[in-house]
Symmetry: C2
């Protein structure tokens, strides 16, 4: 019999408790053992909940209970979760979590601590919800040199972008709908500003490249600047706009970025709609492999957490000791060095003059016309790939020119980025 304590009885935590109970028979068959939730730590009250006798508000009830071997941390956030996790390792418990914020911030330290004690720290639920991605990266693709990862890693923003594209809604309306329907939080900034996706690509990259990638070093842009006009142009170019998190191995360094991108409709990530996530992993042996499914939600995420528990019970878990090496320098190449093509939408006073000037500043641009009323003052163009640090000063040159009223939006074009060096 394996006893588990769940810290944080929110959406994921309650899903874990329910799933362990619901699929007890098949889980027993797979483990040859029985898994029980013995304690649930939460400061809130849950009147009417069937698990009343398990609730406690005192962490000591967990740490002093020698029968508890595994702690599930599903409270989220960094501070309290960090303390609970350290305490669990200090008292000899394995820890399973879906907390990407904590793993992205303190992964190397917590993995080291677990490894020193011969314990497991598993977090399949921290990226991609129920989609198996961390274990496949760690194990199934272990024979590969991973060259790159691209993914739609945040369901909230993908839901909003899908709604803008399919129903012509503006960002604010789509966000409000997402909030009213439980697809976005009351404070949506972690999602819409790209930070959630950034933490997730940092975790995946740390696994893939065998060294810690600090999310604070990853250039991150969200979707708040995307307009329905940009969606119209994207569609006219047979493209869609997606918030894509990407990283690439570049010699001894790593390139990584989170930003909206225009990608062609036949791109593997283009048809990932609504709250779904998808992750494309490129390996030297396997080529491209894609993993697709529900990136969030009570039971998908609980499914990943319980799978980690089962792995611990089956003794197949493995600490990542030695594979998340923390480099003494910033191992992420500065975004300014990446070579990227851009989509630029401007508002112009004089189209002919503006075109001439733009063509002078950017060599080899392609102008895009939208044959629709209301877009007469727009001038949109796609640049040749160039270093980002060379691109932005050129954009600045467009501002304050008589023929150009305004630069309305700048979005990266295509899924590529290369190291210009």
């Amino acid at each position: 019999m394996v006893n588990v304590a769940v810290i944080g009885y929110g959406i994921v935590g309650s899903g874990v408790v329910e799933l362990i109970s619901r699929n007890r028979t098949s889980i027993s068959r797979k483990t040859g053992d029985e898994i029980f939730v013995k304690k649930i730590l939460d400061i809130r009250e849950f009147p009417g909940d069937i698990n009343q006798e398990m609730f406690t508000r005192d962490p000591q009830d967990i740490y002093n209970d020698a029968s508890i071997g595994i702690v599930v941390e599903t409270i989220g956030g960094v501070k309290a979760a960090y303390e609970f996790t350290r305490r669990a390792f200090e008292t000899g418990r394995h820890v399973v979590t879906s907390n990407k914020e904590l793993v992205a911030a303190h992964g190397p330290e917590l993995l080291d601590m677990a490894a020193e004690k011969g314990l497991s720290y598993l977090f399949e639920g921290s990226v991609g919800g129920g989609i198996p991605i961390i274990r496949p990266l760690n194990q199934c693709l272990a024979a590969n040199e991973i060259k790159g990862i691209s993914g739609i890693l945040n369901g909230t923003t993908n839901f909003i972008l899908s709604k803008m594209k399919n129903e012509g809604e503006d960002f604010a309306t789509a966000l409000k709908f997402a909030q009213e329907n439980g697809y976005a939080e009351a404070n949506p900034s972690a999602d819409i500003e790209g930070h959630d996706a950034c933490r997730k690509i940092a975790i995946l990259s740390s696994i893939a490249y065998g060294e810690f990638v600090d999310c604070r070093n990853i250039h991150t842009e969200g979707i708040t600047g995307i307009s329905t006009d940009d969606m119209e142009y994207a569609s006219a170019m047979d493209c869609v706009i997606k918030l894509v998190a990407m990283s690439r191995r570049a010699g001894k360094m790593i390139m990584a970025r989170v930003s909206p991108v225009l990608i062609k409709k036949n791109h593997s990530l283009a048809n990932v709609e609504d709250v779904f996530n998808a992750i494309v992993v490129s390996g030297d042996a396997i080529g491209d492999a894609m993993f697709y499914g529900r990136g969030a939600g009570k039971f998908p995420t609980a499914s990943a957490v319980v799978a980690d528990i089962i792995d611990i019970v089956n003794h197949v878990s493995r600490c990542e000791k030695g594979t998340w090496e923390k480099k003494p320098y910033n191992n992420v190449i500065d975004i300014g060095e990446y070579v990227t093509a851009f989509y630029v939408r401007t508002s112009v006073r004089n189209s002919v003059e503006a075109k001439r000037f733009i063509s002078e500043v950017f060599k080899g641009v392609e102008f895009i016309r939208l044959n629709k009323p209301g877009y007469d003052d727009d001038l949109v163009f796609i640049t040749q790939p160039c270093k980002e640090k060379d691109f932005y000063p050129k954009v600045d040159k467009l501002k304050g020119i008589g023929s150009i009223r305004n630069v309305l939006s700048v979005i990266r074009f295509g899924d590529g980025f290369t190291n210009g060096n």
Copy 2:
């Protein structure tokens, strides 16, 4: 240091040897150990091959070498592979294979034998080439009750169907092209008759449902009867024709089938083109998750084989003891009981009379017209879902009726099947 012997130096076997050598550094980092190929068994000669000193034609050179801990069986086929595998277990070696034929035929016995000896028998490479699917099913989705699996599991047939659809070629021409370009074997029957896909869905189903599913009990149809005319009608109905292998849990029994199906273009499997494979797994907690990538080929498959070797070295492998229970009865429901809709293409002498007769025999059919020259004598219809055992006698009624010249093709419509009971 871990020494490996490779039995069978064909496409996959030679890929395994090359991959272990090429990615030695990163594999060492992940295992904390070094993996070496010490012996290669093959009766053929490989003049000029850099691994000359490892070759042997005598299996005893492997079995008598106490330093060899893992045997990689990549000769394929059943008879010799079975003997080599048993012998490896008898002499205390772990076995890794990509041999779906052997696993589908003797999986329960070989898994039992390995488990009794405390050894591993791993076969990630047997299904989906490099796509991680067996380990995800076994581990990542272990918290789920698996409800069903659908997949494009054979790259050769998918390549042929893609070529027929995209270039209007007939089956024979597309097959010839596939053979000339290494996408189909000289004797292509295992692929084009559906047997390869059948073995793979049998293996996945055995894992998913925790009981052995014998491929001999799975109704299997190939793609040899698919014509370019059927492709035209599919396109007109916004569908594509794919060879789909499916299984469903149905109470204590299992439903399983391999056959061409007409699926809508927005179906997750519809856009899987050329030699790619994709597998959709439906679980009670995760919903649908899809795994996509190269389903065959030297390095993708070698990637899966080497991942299994790494798992054994890391002691994270797990035998499937007890989870491939062999039932004393046929646990696959007979295809006649499945409720399916059908596409039927007939050649008619008198369209009005034929329609009247067809509508009498099949209630609620939908007729499809192709507005193209040359299809005037065709009459195509889609039936309501009905039990297959009730469907075929009705089709027989159409034959030999004055207004209907011939029944040209019958293809299942939609990805659904339900248990009519």
